[in-house]
């Protein structure tokens, strides 16, 4: 294989890894504050992409520049999914706090199906794949056999930026500190005067907004979205979070890029058709989980008694 094609594969892997990481970070945040798995996460991503598309349709009459349009539909998707995430936490996750964690997993699994079916049935022609507008500049830099596309570079940079922003928020703001405190010890955090319910709602809002961001990115990358797109992305994001070590943000990011790398290797290096890339990637994930059941990044400090 020549270098240009390899670079193309690497670029593709990085884009996928960024999307997976954004989804995985959500899983890790939710698990951090509430020790629950929210299985509707991938479908929230899908609804986010459709919210962006709906905003685009609504604004299509206005003579907006592509940049403004992109910002507007991204803002619509992020805000709408942030609110949806909070609503899901309030209505389905918080009331089940005293129930076994399995119940939360089941109810959010069903909620995901409901969201998927709702988009399929109620979005105009929702059962068909929908073209997603290409709003990013189409320029590209020719580097021999490899084309560095401006839209990919911009999306990747935006993804990095959002993760850095999340880290800064968690590390350097009072609210971020409260989220980390709740993640470590909910009860003691409450006795510090932290409003636990508010912290949970905000965390679910942030995680869901990141999923919306990943959904829009997915639409821009493939120029197409469909009602079932969240299913695989949710499962992959979940696997990435688990492989990285659930509860660790860095672990989630590592897991996201690792999964994308495995898919890429599966598509390139494995002799049979690239259709087996997911089988290959999930197979390796299963293998990793067997060898390191707690995930790649382990919590280093144990509590001393």
């Amino acid at each position: 294989m020549d270098a240009g094609l390899l670079a193309q594969h690497v670029m593709n892997g990085l884009m996928l890894g960024m999307m997976y990481s954004l989804v995985a970070v959500g899983f890790t945040l939710f698990f951090g504050v509430l020790d629950v798995i929210k299985f509707s996460h991938g479908d929230v991503l899908m609804v986010g992409a459709f919210a962006a598309l709906a905003a685009y349709t609504a604004l299509a009459g206005q003579a907006l520049s592509p940049w403004l349009m992109l910002l507007a539909i991204l803002a619509a998707a992020v805000v709408a999914m942030g609110l949806l995430g909070m609503a899901i936490a309030q209505a389905f996750v918080l009331p089940l706090r005293t129930a076994p964690a399995l119940n939360t997993l089941l109810i959010t699994l069903m909620l995901g199906t409901a969201l998927r079916e709702a988009v399929r049935l109620f979005y105009p022609q929702g059962a068909n794949p929908k073209p997603f507008p290409a709003l990013l500049p189409k320029a590209s830099i020719d580097m021999g056999q490899f084309n560095l596309r401006a839209d990919n570079a911009i999306m990747f940079a935006a993804g990095i930026l959002s993760i850095v922003a999340l880290q800064l928020f968690l590390k350097h703001t009072k609210l971020g500190l409260a989220i980390r405190a709740v993640a470590q010890d909910e009860e003691t955090a409450r006795t510090m005067g932290i409003n636990f319910t508010m912290v949970v709602l905000i965390t679910f809002g942030i995680g869901s907004a990141l999923a919306a961001f990943a959904g829009v990115m997915n639409g821009l990358y493939y120029n197409e979205i469909n009602f079932g797109m969240g299913l695989l992305l949710g499962v992959i994001g979940f696997s990435a979070a688990i492989v990285g070590g659930l509860g660790s943000i860095y672990g989630a990011i590592l897991g996201g890029f690792l999964f994308a790398a495995l898919q890429t290797i599966g598509a390139v290096a494995v002799p049979f058709a690239s259709a087996y890339k997911d089988v290959f990637a999930f197979g390796v994930v299963i293998l990793i989980m067997t060898i390191k059941p707690t995930g790649l990044i382990r919590e280093k400090i144990s509590e001393r008694v």
Binding site: K174, L177, A181, Q184, T188, R190, I194, I301, R304
Partner: protein
């Protein structure tokens, strides 16, 4: 700055089995009130009831003239109560400074928090030297310091202290009781739960004895030490 805590006829249950039965007690403003009792007598449950972590099913808890019985925990803390919990409960993955800042979470002003942080470091120079250390990597005694400093960061009117000497070396235990006396000297009402009877009775003004979820004896600590129930239960 101190305030009175009045608990009247409190019943608290886990899974319908009452752990506290008709508990009434008062922590007078500016004084150290202690609660003695063996393991399983309901001491920690009473602290949890005051903090709203386990809601009483009957009775009332009034603090500073305000009924806090049914408030949510963060509202109770806002009313001016801080807690140094059993087992210290520092946030193990946060730094010393982050732990302390969380103690003042209910305080809105950043400059007030900074001032309190500096005065905490003055009182516990060791914490100042280690402000960036991850709390979970510290020794038990140092973590106790973090937990005490964190409780004081709230600048509370009432401080609940649950089993401060549990698991500490005798030197730290004595130091801890000295610190409790200092805290009280600043005018903070202290409600102290302990198993270490001798030193507790020496430091507190008034005491209650809890047994099987009921108050079985109370009185000024000097008297209490001489009472038969207490002697029997603790001094053998």
């Amino acid at each position: 700055m101190s305030a009175k805590l009045e608990i009247t006829g409190v019943y608290t249950a886990y899974d319908k089995a009452d752990v506290l039965e008709d508990v009434s007690l008062v922590a007078e403003p500016g004084r150290i009130t202690c609660l003695l009792g063996s393991n399983g007598s309901g001491k920690t449950t009473l602290i949890r009831s005051i903090l709203g972590l386990t809601r009483p099913r009957a009775g009332s808890i009034v603090f500073d003239g305000k009924d806090i019985t049914r408030l949510r925990t963060h509202k109770i803390v806002k009313a001016g109560i801080a807690c140094i919990p059993e087992g210290r409960k520092v946030f193990p993955k946060l730094t010393v400074e982050e732990n302390l800042r969380l103690g003042a979470y209910a305080e809105a002003s950043a400059s007030v928090i900074r001032t309190r942080l500096e005065s905490t470091f003055e009182q516990f120079p060791r914490l100042g030297e280690r402000r960036q250390q991850i709390a979970g990597t510290m020794s038990g005694g140092e973590q106790a310091m973090v937990s005490i400093g964190r409780g004081l960061m709230r600048a509370p009117k009432l401080l609940l202290i649950d089993e401060p000497s549990l698991g500490l070396s005798p030197r730290f235990v004595t130091e801890n009781f000295g610190i409790i006396r200092d805290i009280n000297a600043r005018g903070i009402t202290v409600f102290l739960v302990e198993q270490n009877v001798r030193q507790t009775l020496a430091v507190a003004h008034y005491g209650y004895v809890l047994s099987k979820g009921r108050v079985v004896a109370q009185g000024p600590t000097a008297e209490l030490a001489a009472r038969d129930e207490v002697r029997e239960a603790y001094f053998g």
